[in-house]
Amino acid sequence: MVTLVALGVFGAIALLGGALAVILRDPVYAVLSLVKTMIGLAAVYFILGAEYIGAIQVIVYAGAILVTFLFVVMLVNLSPQDIPPLPRGLSLYGSVFLSVAWMFILSLALRSVLELPDPAEVSSMPTNEYLFGTLPPIGKALFTAYAFPFELLSITLIVGIVGASLLVQKRNEI
């Protein structure tokens, strides 16, 4: 029960951060509120038992990716006056309706259709503890069963780095 309440609290924080990121006009504020979402999500990961991924979430998302966002906001010198206001009228209501419909489908319908195993069977599993929250089991899985995808991922990272540096270099326009 405590877990559920904690999940609710930190989930609400994450949702609030997301909503602010969508609504706020100042880009710097928007990015910072997304940082709040990321931290809330990291807490949710902790609650779910995935401590390692929660830590990674804070380090990579909040620490690296969103800082890059901020950096770009500074780089292009984006001020609140450059951001158009949110639309009103039909396009606002339409967008909200569409989003709510997605929310409905994803949260209710998916749940009702998914074939989940029998709760009795789940609770009879040898341990109720989540096994993959800490580094050793994840590391073992990464370097045994998922070694090949892991290596592919490293190639993808290199491609990303090279691609990005090609994209932003000033000389010889692409």
Binding site: S91, G94, S95, L98, W102, I105, A109, L110, V113
Partner: protein, 631 residues
């Protein structure tokens, strides 16, 4: 032990065909090694024959070898497999045995040909296809072999393709065969729709309703008329003589054209279940036999006479098969393979020596080419049915079977029997005429004929021995038991039981067939023993318009031209003019215009504004999810 070599026996000819064909295509040096190539091809077929012979000697029980799965589309499972039973083994022996001899002969016959690598490659490929045909355990594989021999026949008829006449003969054979093949395909599919299997040994267990059996059997018989040159599809065989003579001997006399008879014998259960179809088979057989025999009496081209003789003899086989005596039909296939191959190879030897095919320019050749002459005489007597040569036994068995079927209450078969007797007379007569005009009397040609080399006369001698003794595998019950029937073929082919004939009837039948044969030969002797050619010309003038009609082969080709080819041209022209312009020109235009305007409408959706795309995407994704989850 021996059975493990069987894949080798089937595969070796294909391998050697590929090696000779590809080698000859790429290495000009190999092409000039004509004797070597011929020897390799011959040796391969001889090895194959040896393996089949040892299988035959150690044969105990039928054997079905599944090689691998060809197609597996449930519920259809098609496995590629071979079936060694008495019938298929017997045919394989004939194919490889006669085939090896003809390969040997070809070394001599094709010695001067630059393109003999092509010839030997196709000849080996033919042996392979024919083995696939006879050994196949399922109809689709049989069909594969069936098409394979058809293709090889096409290649070899058109061997001298530089002359348009030959190329056209090849195309004619190919197209006529395709018409028949359609029947095999349709019959095969119908069989599958009825039973759900292609496997012949499984099909044998089904009980077919008479009407369905009749339909399928008639379709299969259509295929047989194409391959085995029966009415209405026989006209390709005389033209097929455009190919090299050993090809005529192997493909168009001894083996391929008997595939139709084999098909009927293989699917005997189906024909047994369809009495009406059997009646059609016999009727077509007798009619073809009679017409071809009549045409053969008034031809001058030595190979054409033999071709019509083949058509006539194939009609004999179908008459037997139609009487339900499938074993007897296969027996005639067997003996006929010997003496018809002998006659064709003999005619090849003559053509090789004189350089012409017109028997009016021959005569007296027995003196200059004694081996060819004497063996040809043996072949003539064998096909005429003079005892104790091979043809006598098989022909007598056919006549007895058809007569017995008649006495079983189906009086139509008595008529067939009468027709077959007439054909037997005609056979003896035209073969006598051919032999007298070619080998007796005075030489009328220009060139100096000489005996062929030993590589050609050796097969002649072997085949002559075969023509004398091959009938002994099945002597009439009166003179002893029929080994071929009682011990061998009965295991895999069940003939329709016929009422036993009394000894007296049997003796009368034998005497009748012997007398008929002697009468035919004797008539020829009376007419042609002196001054053969002038006597023949007298006969022609006496016959008058009948002679020219028979000499023109009854004008069947012209009839088909009018009936089928011309209407086809009309349809094609119609298609070209009307169809081509209206459908060919306007329909694509309409489609492009419609597509273009539709595309123009769709481009309106592409507004170039990012949230609009997100909107499309989100809406479509939502609908898709709803569809997947609830609909």
């Amino acid at each position: 032990m021996v059975t493990q070599l069987l894949p080798l026996a089937i595969g070796l000819p294909a391998l050697s065909a590929a090696i000779i064909g590809i080698g000859g295509l790429w290495f000009a040096g190999l092409r000039s090694q004509r004797n070597f190539l011929g020897a390799v091809a011959t040796a391969i077929v001889a090895i194959s024959f040896g393996i089949f012979l040892s299988t035959f000697l150690s044969y105990t029980a039928p054997l079905q070898v599944r090689a691998w799965d060809w197609l597996a589309i449930e519920p259809m499972r098609l496995s590629l497999g071979f079936q060694i039973d008495t019938l298929s083994l017997w045919m394989a022996l004939v194919v490889t045995g006669i085939g090896a001899l003809i390969h040997l002969y070809s070394i001599g016959y094709m010695a001067e040909e630059a393109g003999s690598w092509r010839y030997f490659a196709f000849l080996n490929l033919f042996i392979f296809s024919m083995l696939v045909l006879v050994l196949a355990d399922s109809l689709p594989l049989l069909f594969l072999g069936w098409e394979g021999v058809g293709a090889c026949s096409y290649f070899l008829i058109g061997y001298w393709f530089a002359e348009e006449k030959n190329a056209q003969a090849a195309q004619k054979a190919f197209i006529m065969n395709r018409i028949g093949d359609l029947g095999l395909l349709a019959g095969m599919i119908w069989l599958f729709a009825e039973t759900g299997t292609f496997d012949i040994s499984l099909l044998r267990g089904y009980i077919f309703p008479a009407d369905i059996a009749t339909g399928i059997a008639l379709l299969l018989f259509l295929a047989a008329t194409g391959k085995s040159a029966q009415i209405p599809l026989y006209t390709w065989l005389p033209d097929a003589m455009a190919g090299p003579t050993p090809v005529s001997a192997l493909i168009h006399a001894a083996t391929m054209v008997t595939a139709g008879v084999y098909l009927v014998a293989r699917m005997d259960f189906l024909f047994t279940a369809a009495p009406e179809a059997l009646l059609v088979v016999s009727g077509i057989g007798v009619a073809t036999s009679l017409i071809a025999g009549l045409i053969a009496t008034r031809q001058y081209d030595i190979k054409r006479i033999l071709a019509y003789s083949t058509v006539s003899q194939l009609g004999f086989m179908f008459a037997a098969a139609g009487a339900g005596a499938y074993i007897t039909a296969i027996f005639h296939v067997f003996t006929h393979a010997f003496f018809k191959a002998l006659l064709f190879l003999g005619s090849g030897s003559v053509i090789h020596a004189t350089g012409t095919q017109d028997i009016r320019e021959m005569g007296g050749l027995r003196r200059s080419m004694p081996v060819t002459g004497w063996t040809f005489w043996i072949g003539t007597l064998a096909i005429a049915g003079i005892p104790p040569l091979a043809g006598f036994f098989s022909k007598d068995e056919i006549l007895a079977a058809v007569y017995a079927r008649g006495s079983a209450g189906e009086s139509l078969y008595f008529m067939f029997w009468g027709g077959l007797l007439l054909v037997a007379f005609l056979t003896a007569f035209y073969m006598g005429r051919l032999t007298w005009l070619t080998f007796e009397g005075e030489y009328r040609g220009q060139s100096k004929p000489h005996e062929s080399p030993a590589v050609m006369t050796l097969p002649l001698a072997v085949l002559a021995v075969g023509s004398v003794v091959s009938g002994l595998v099945s002597v009439p019950p009166l003179l002893g038991s029929s080994w071929l029937r009682e011990r061998w073929l009965i295991q895999s082919t069940k003939p329709i039981p016929l009422p036993p004939l009394t000894h007296d009837t049997e003796i009368i039948l034998i005497i009748a067939s012997v007398l008929i044969a002697i009468a035919g030969i004797g008539t020829a002797w009376l007419l042609f023993r002196q001054s053969a050619l002038s006597a023949d010309e007298q006969v022609s003038t006496k016959l008058g318009p009948l002679h020219s009609l028979l000499n023109e082969q009854l004008g069947i080709d012209q009839l088909y031209e009018k009936l089928f080819v011309q209407p086809y041209y009309v349809v094609a022209d119609f298609a070209k003019d009307v169809w081509g312009i209206w459908i060919g020109r306007w329909a694509p235009k309409l489609i492009t215009v419609a597509l273009e305007s539709a595309a123009r409408l769709l481009t309106r959706l592409q507004v170039g504004y990012l949230p609009a795309y997100v909107l499309y995407f989100a809406t479509a994704g939502l609908l898709l999810l709803i569809w997947i989850l609830w609909l």
